[in-house]
């Protein structure tokens, strides 16, 4: 069983003006295989920094990340990324984008092609294989990004606001797709979002982070993701418990934002 453990991560760096930033302080977490955790927090709480450390793009100043009993030191195919947008390769067709990971590993076409075709079918793009990615809509592009990540068969998928740039309708459809892929593949997923609703809908676990220094504020375990698999997500939202949790978390984040504003006014 692969376990992702985040052990006492701190991140601190100097600014050109001599002061320093404490982006993260003592973040400790453990994820079991197949868990989907959404991360929420006001801007500046270090959630993207945490994700970049998990991906291996940044080195923490203290602490370490352990995955499958080895330490994370840099980017690797075991940890896949899905970005908000703009991370597809425009010079490749949809199929070449999705098969990028296997091709980089030097896999034979006969090995990866069935997987790629299957994944394109799962995300509903079987008719767009040969299209150029810039010909697709934003929602379709994110589906390509999901398929590309899955084609590489990573242990952990890190999603940095993957649906943030989509319109509300497309976003709802994509939330269903993320849930479906999560259940079907059993991947460990960490998903950063700005939307409280999305965090509640998709997160089996929900992490609320607080800013300055970036730290874990509160963690929830939620039933909605399991409820929502294969169902109409609007039904899940009608659950009174869902509305209650949403209000609770929203007011929590509002309080943090107000605190930041207050501090900014004091210093000004």
């Amino acid at each position: 069983m692969s376990t992702l453990s985040i052990e006492n991560i701190s991140m601190r760096f100097d600014l050109p003006n001599g002061s320093h930033v404490q982006a993260l302080k003592d973040v400790t977490l453990e994820l079991q295989t197949g868990e989907l955790m959404s991360v929420l927090g006001p801007s500046g709480c270090g959630k993207t920094t945490l994700l970049n450390i998990l991906a291996g793009f940044l080195a923490p100043t203290e602490g370490r990340i352990m995955l499958n009993d080895h330490q994370v030191t840099g980017p690797d195919a075991e940890r896949g990324m899905v970005f908000q947008q703009g991370a597809l390769f425009e010079w490749m067709s949809v199929r070449d984008n999705v098969s990028f990971g296997p091709r980089m590993k030097g896999q034979k076409k006969s090995v990866y092609m069935p997987t790629v075709d299957h994944l394109l079918e799962v995300v509903g793009l079987q008719d767009f294989k040969e299209k150029a990615v810039y010909e697709l809509s934003g929602g379709m592009q994110q589906r390509v990004a999901l398929a590309r990540c899955l084609a590489n068969d990573p242990d952990v998928i890190l999603m940095d606001e993957p649906l943030g740039a989509l319109d509300a309708l497309t976003r709802e459809k994509m939330q269903g797709l993320v849930l479906k892929l999560w259940k079907e593949t059993g991947k460990t997923i960490i998903l950063i979002t700005h939307s409280v609703e999305e965090a509640l809908l998709l997160g089996e676990r929900l992490l609320v982070m607080a800013p300055r220094p970036g730290r874990i504020h509160k963690e929830y375990r939620l039933p909605f993701a399991d409820d929502g698999v294969g169902k109409d997500l609007r039904e899940v939202k009608k659950n009174p418990e869902f509305a209650e949790k949403r209000e609770e978390i929203l007011s929590m984040i509002w309080d943090m934002e107000e605190e930041i504003m207050g501090r900014a006014e004091e210093s000004a």
Partner: protein, 421 residues
């Protein structure tokens, strides 16, 4: 001035005719045609193709009309050619006056012409004869055959009955007559409004030159050889510039050390116009092929370096991160992400570099060369072969335009995603 007024008149007349007549008959029904706000909406401004055609035709018609071209039915008034005459009144020191007539024959330069035969006539002032080339003027020592000469105190006091003093001039039939400060006459036949071929030859003369130089050659090389050598230098110089510049630009975009090492050199060399290097290149490498190619290499090098560097820095960091997360090695990142992502920038740079190289090669050939388009027009200008000069300029323009079109075609073919990300 007249030409400018005619040009503006044609512009306005064509606008009114096309807008009121033709376009109404062929109105478009696409989306843009339904826009009511077009003044200020750049996307609604589409070039009117009628205007383009009329514009080009107008230039050629004006060219033909003011050079007396056989291809153009209407001409501006040309210079006077033929026989004409005027009379001058000579005053002797004693105050007596006598008239004499000057018979002038104006001929086209290059044709044979003899002075008209003249009967000397009566009185102490005798009739004269002169020949003048069209667009030229001729000095007439009218008192050479007169009985009282200028050294005796005789002077011209009137021409065609109009009083005149030394330094003045008088209009006569088909020209003007001026009196020099020493008292002799200077006849200039009417020039009309056409350009003399030595300033601007008619279009047919230029076209005829194309055929002549294409087959017979000029300065030991045919037209195609001149153009071929210019193009050859551009392509070889650009090729080596790109061959060195693109990897250098990549290195500068990927490594701190390369960036630091070459930044001062590139930033210094970039604003130096390649033309300013011509003297140094001639000193170092002479006026042969190697000098030209070194110059064009230097012209292309910095542009290609900077465009490749910009191409690398233009890669979205999320693409780089995505590629690494998908298991790409550094080499694979280079091959599959950085190089293709920088192609649009490199193509833009290549288009600019080709344009600069083409301008530079012509300029370098103007300065010193044994062959090439620039050398051809420079030598032609020394011999006043204006038709070759104009032909050369037109061909240089066409080739430069052709290069740009080819580069654009290559760009849309190789980088179809440009501007669509």
């Amino acid at each position: 001035m007249t030409i400018l007024i005619i040009y503006i008149a044609v512009f306005v007349a064509a606008f009114l005719i096309v807008r009121k007549g033709v376009n109404r008959a062929m109105a478009r029904r696409d989306f843009t045609s339904l826009k009511t706000v077009t003044f200020g909406d750049e996307s609604a401004v589409r070039p009117d193709r009628w205007a383009s055609v009329i514009s080009v035709v107008t230039i050629f018609l004006l060219w033909g009309a003011f050079t007396g071209s056989k291809w153009v039915p209407v001409h501006a008034p040309g210079p006077f050619v033929g026989d004409t005459e005027f009379t001058y009144t000579l005053e002797a020191p004693d105050g007596s006056r006598d008239d004499a007539t000057v018979y002038a024959r104006v001929f086209n330069v290059g044709e044979d012409a003899a002075e008209p035969e003249v009967d000397p006539g009566d009185g102490f002032a005798k009739n004269d004869a002169i020949k003048v080339g069209a667009w030229r003027s001729a000095l007439l020592l009218m008192d050479k055959n007169d009985e009282v000469k200028r050294e005796d105190g005789a002077k011209v006091v009137a021409i065609d009955g109009q009083p005149v003093a030394p330094g003045g001039s008088v209009s006569v039939a088909n020209g003007t007559v001026a009196i020099t400060s020493k008292g002799s006459l200077n006849f200039s036949p009417a020039k009309g409004m056409q350009m003399e071929p030595i300033w601007l030859p008619p279009p047919e003369a230029v076209v005829a030159r194309v055929g002549e130089i294409a087959s017979a050659g000029y300065q030991n090389f045919t037209l195609w050889e001149h153009l071929y050598w210019s193009l050859f230098r551009v392509i070889v110089g650009f090729f080596f510039g790109a061959l060195v510049g693109i990897p250098l630009g990549y290195a500068m975009g990927l490594s701190d050390w390369f960036r630091g090492w070459f930044d001062p050199i590139v930033e210094f060399m970039r604003p130096v116009p390649p033309l300013a290097l011509i003297p140094l290149v001639i000193i170092w490498a002479g006026i042969g092929e190697s000098g030209k190619i070194i110059l064009l290499f230097l012209a292309a090098l910095w542009i290609m370096t900077i465009s490749a560097r910009a191409g690398v820095s233009g890669v979205a960091i999320s693409k780089v991160h995505a590629a690494y997360s998908l298991g790409a090695s550094k080499w694979q990142l280079m091959r599959y992400v950085i190089v293709p992502n920088s192609l649009p920038e490199i193509f833009t740079g290549a288009r600019v570099a080709m344009g600069v190289c083409w301008g530079t090669v012509v300029a370098a050939e103007l300065v010193a060369a044994e062959k090439g388009a620039g050398m051809m027009i420079m030598v032609a200008s020394r011999f006043q072969n204006t038709d070759i000069v104009i032909m050369g300029i037109i061909l240089i323009g066409i080739i430069g335009y052709g290069i740009d079109i080819l580069m654009r075609k290559a760009e849309t073919w190789l980088v179809p995603w440009k501007g669509r990300v």
